[in-house]
Structures are given as structure tokens and as C-alpha cells.
């Protein structure tokens, strides 16, 4: 998959590139609006990560122009503005998702996967984790065709860990993914611990879960 990262803050752009490359994406960078428009016109991208606060133009104009060119990449808007109006405006113009700075790179990966499934109809392949099967499409976890009844939040948590498998996720990253970040002040590591405990308990009724690891002092990891 080809990704264009339009972000004027070079060091942030570089980090995104490092992370997405490790995820198997092909990345290109643009640091100005003009540069971005030119690249979009010439190349075909699957994803455009678009910072709204560009020095030479309003990022939203790039979506407008692009619609005129007729290509159809998925736009994910990155902004520190966080204003409701911007969000509505962005989604109206055809942006596919919206992520507020500062965000976790693992969150970006999860969003890109979700957008990809929705937009390019990439079939969400069921995934085998230990003795369990995770069905992304129907949001189910099964063990020998028996469904493990997880709450919406519990499934989201497990899903996020599985998408970012073999990476340690901090409690804050997990918390942000599930509760968004309007309640930052209430960030409470206990929340995640309780939910993980419940997920483990429910899964352990069917089989043991050595793949769901607690990484001391950091957070949790799904490894397989």
C-alpha cells in the first residue's frame, strides 16, 4: 500500500514513516501543500495522511483539488486544531477519518486498517490467535465455533492488541483507543487492568491465553 504523508513537521513525518514502513507500507513525504498537490496529481496513493495546519495552504483545499483530479485515495486528517467545525468540514469534504494530535502510532495503524477495510473492501481475514479465532468483520471471538461473549469495549481492546501484535502497548495507548481522549484527566491505569482481567477470565473459560502477555512496567502485548 502506498501512503503519502503530508505534514510540515519533519521529525513527526519521519517517525510516522519509520513506523509505517515497519508495518509494510510504502511511504512518501510532502512538507508543503504545493508539494502534496503535485505528488497526488502524479502518483496513485492508497492513503493520504493530511495535516490541516500546513504553512502554504489549508489542508482541506488539497482534498478539494484532489476530487477534481479524480483519484480516490483514503484521506486521514491529522490536526492539532481539534475543533468540531473542522471535523465536520473535513468529513463533509470526503476525508475518511480524523485523528487528533498527539496520537499513538499504533492508533494510526488501527485507523488505517479500519479505513482500508471500509473503503477498499479488503476482506477482514479471520485471525487465529492461540486456540481462538478473531472475526474482524462480525466482531466475534470464537473457540471451536463457540462464541466468547465479550462486551464491545473488551472486543475493541483485544482487537487493538491483535492488530498491533508483537508490539507492547502502553495502558495509555489502550485507554485512548477505547475511550478517545476527551477525558484525559481521568486516565487511570486501573481501567485497562480491569478490562484485561475480564477479557482473560472470559477467554480462560475456554482455553488458556499465554499469548496475552502482561509486560511489567509497560503494558500489554499479544504475541504469536
Amino acid at each position: 500500500m502506498n501512503v503519502l504523508i503530508v505534514e510540515d513537521e519533519k521529525s513527526l513525518s519521519d517517525e510516522i514513516v519509520v513506523f509505517l514502513k515497519s508495518e509494510g507500507y510504502l511511504c512518501e513525504q510532502a512538507f508543503t501543500g504545493a508539494d502534496a498537490s503535485e505528488k497526488i496529481a502524479i502518483n496513485l496513493y492508497d492513503f493520504v495522511l493530511l495535516d490541516l495546519g500546513l504553512p502554504d495552504c489549508d489542508g482541506l483545499d488539497i482534498i478539494n483539488n484532489d476530487r477534481a483530479w479524480g483519484s480516490e485515495p483514503a484521506f486521514i486528517i491529522i490536526t492539532a486544531r481539534g475543533e468540531v467545525q473542522d471535523k465536520v468540514k473535513g468529513l463533509d469534504l470526503g476525508a475518511d477519518d480524523y485523528i487528533a494530535k498527539p496520537f499513538a502510532l499504533t492508533e494510526l495503524a488501527a485507523r488505517m486498517q479500519a479505513v482500508g477495510r471500509r473503503k477498499f473492501k479488503i476482506p477482514g481475514q479471520d485471525m487465529n490467535v492461540g486456540e481462538f479465532v478473531i472475526e474482524f468483520q462480525s466482531r466475534k471471538v470464537t473457540h471451536n465455533d463457540n462464541e466468547v461473549l465479550l462486551t464491545r469495549k473488551e472486543f475493541d481492546l483485544l482487537n487493538y492488541l491483535v492488530i498491533n501484535r508483537n508490539k507492547v502497548l502502553t495502558r495509555q495507548q489502550l485507554y485512548e483507543h477505547i475511550w478517545g481522549n476527551i477525558l484525559e484527566d481521568q486516565y487511570d491505569s486501573n481501567f485497562i487492568d480491569v478490562h484485561i482481567k475480564n477479557v482473560r477470565r472470559k477467554l480462560n473459560e475456554f482455553a488458556s491465553t499465554p499469548w496475552l502477555e502482561t509486560v511489567r512496567g509497560i503494558g500489554y502485548r499479544v504475541s504469536f
Binding site: E9, S11, L12, E15, I16, V18, F19, S22, G53, A80, R81, G82, E83, V84, Q85, K101, P102, F103, A104, L105, T106, T151, K153, K167, V168, T170, Q172, Q173, N181, I182, L183, E184, D185, Q186, Y187, D188, S189, N190, F191, V194, H195, K197, N198, V215, R216, G217, I218, G219
Partner: protein, 438 residues
Amino acid sequence: MARLRIKLSFFNLLSKLIFTGLFLLIMPYLVERINLIQTDNNLIGMREQVISLVSKVGIEPFITSETENTFGSYNILKDEFISLEKFDSGEDANFIEVSERLIEGEKIIYRVLNYTFKVDNIKYLLEIGKSLESIHHTEKNTRKVMLVFLVFIILITFITDLLYTRRLLSPLDVITLKLKDISDPSIYDKTPVKTTTSDFVSLDNALKELMTHIDELFRKEKDITVNISHELLTPVSVLRSKLENLLIRDDLSPEIPTKIEETLKTLYRLQSLVNSLLLIARLESRQFLRNETFQVNEVLSEIISELSPISDDSNILLESEFDHDLRVSKANRSLLFSMFYNIVNNAVKNTQPGGKVLIKSFSDKDHFVVSVSDTGKGMSEAQMKTLFSRFKTKGQNSGTGIGLAIAKSIADFHCISITVKSVPDTGTIFSFAFPENS
């Protein structure tokens, strides 16, 4: 409290009544004086007539020197008389007095003019009298007519005052109405108020200028908020990405990831702080939309289902009693969710295992009220005072203590009033009273 025009009209009425009352008190005296002067002038006029008559025809037709000493005449109703007599003894007289006369066995009070004059060296005394009763009678009638007239005048002027002031002050009503309706200075109706009163024109202009000014300030603040958020959050974002990228490398020596996580935690705190301050700044400059309609109990139920895993884990009973529900309109759901979530989460955090947190919704008089009570540690008076101030209430478990300040800002944004009651070692109750017309 009363409307300005009613007050003005009543003041007019009152002042009129006072002046009329004073006038009515003084009037009898005045009328008497006027009548007296009038009567006296009449009497003097009559005297002149008599004198000129006497000088024309002589004294004989009235008094013949031998036989009669007195001449008297009065009209049928006895309210006037004239008498002429020889006046031998005494000095000259020319005065007017009030005296009682007996005429045909009837005592009547007269205003009497006494006047002496000489004809052929004989002194005569002329007396001309006018009954005072008749004077009093006219006086009484005049007073009655006057009273009726005054009452009539007062009534008429009161009504016209009322109507006129209403018309005069109608631009003020228009201005008040305009002010009452606005929630944001940018939507202030700037069409000039129709009036010929210069005071209202200047008031209207002053308000218009004020609104434009406030609007400008708000806009500037909005810009500053946007700029600060961008300036602060971008470097935080860079740091976060760098640290998170480091954390997922598998070639680190064992003690490094923990250090990175500790650094990340500090960064999260910074991020949380910036975001909270921004949230409050945006709330205060009204940058959030209030365009959603939803049931409050539904929000509360969602919060309960989100927090019940936590409360279950600490063996705390999280219960609800919904006696009443409210369909709020012109509200922001995610903000109200945050507000209640903050409070309920706080209550759960501050309650010991085995305790209870109860969420109630009910109607109290005209208000819809949501209350959140816990059986936690409670708070002292001193703690209560700084409860909603930023950074003052350092939470025991986590957080910057800004959560309650956020809750308060959200409540203010929705015109919800928060009251807190707390008893140390017994528990705390937060009550949220929604405005009457929401």
C-alpha cells in the same frame, strides 16, 4: 419588580394625587379669601351707588329730618340689606366687618360695610350687608364641582400617561428583547432600533459597539486557542512518536523500555494538561456546538455500563434510580457525557470497597435534577471551597485535579447549576439542576 413605564405612570399618578390633595386642603381658605374680596368689592360698589344716589336726589327720600331717623331695605331672601341712619355720636367709620343681625326674628351672619358721611352737617351711617351663608353655599358647590373635575382629570391623565410612556419606552423593550435572546455576541441583531428618542439611539449604538468589540475579542481568543493548541501539541506529538517507535524496537537492553514508558507517562500528563486547558478555554469561548437532542437517562445508563466493570472489580455497588427523564435539546452530548462521567468516576474512585454509588434523576419543583452520591471519604469545608478551581484539588489516585474544573465549565456552558454536599467520612452528593426550559 415592576416595568419602567408602570413605575413612571404610577409616580405621575402619585405626584398628581399629592398636589391635588394639597390643593384641596388649601382651597377652602383660598376660595373664602377670594369670595371675601369679591364681596367686599361688591359692597364698595354698592356704597358708591348709594352715595351717588344720595348726592343726586338728596337724603330726603330716605330719611326726613323730623320723623324718621332710620331707613332699611332688604330683599326677600334676606341675603342683602341696606340701612341708613342718623349717626350722632361716635367717630367716622369706614370699615367692613362680619356681624350678626336680627331680621324679622331671624339671626343671619352678614358681611357688613360701615360708612359714615355728612349731608347738611348731619352725620349718617350707611350699612350694606351681604349674607355669608350664600357665600358659603357657592363655595361648597364650587368645591364639589372642582373635586369631580380633578378626579376626572387625574384618571384621564393617568391613562394617557400609561399609553404614552408605553409608546415612548417601546424601543427599550425591543433592546431588552434583543439582549435576552443572544447567547453569543456574534449573533446580536445590529439593525437600528426605530425611535425618535436620542437616548435610545445612543444606548442602541453603545450596545452595538460593545457587541462588536466583544465579538472581536472572542474571535481573537479563538485564534489564540487554535494557535496554542497547534504550537504545543505538535512537539508533544513528535516526542510521543519518537518514544513509541523506540519502545517497539526489540534490540533494547531490558531496563530501557521501562524508562521509556516512564518518560511517556510524563508526556501523557503534559498532553492531558494541554488538552484539558484547551477544553476549558474552548468551553469558555463557546467554541462547542450545542445542537443535539437526547435523553439524559440514556447518557447516565451508558456511563453506568462503562464504569460497572471498574466498580464490580472494587466491589462497589453502582446503582441508579431514574424517577424522571429529560429530553434535552440544544446540548452537546459528548460534553454532558464527560461531565457526568467525571463525577461518577470520581465517586467510584473515592469509595471504599463495599461502598455504594447511587445515580438518581428526579424532578425538583421546576427543575430536572441528576444527583450522584457516594459513601466515600467525604470532604472538609476547606476542600469544598477549592473544589472547582483548577489544580487545587489534587486527586489522590491520579489526574491533575482539573476534572472537576472541566465538569464545572461544561455545566456552565449548559446553564446547569452544580451543588455539592459533603459530610466527612459519610459521603458526598453532587447535584446537577438543569435549567427550567431545557
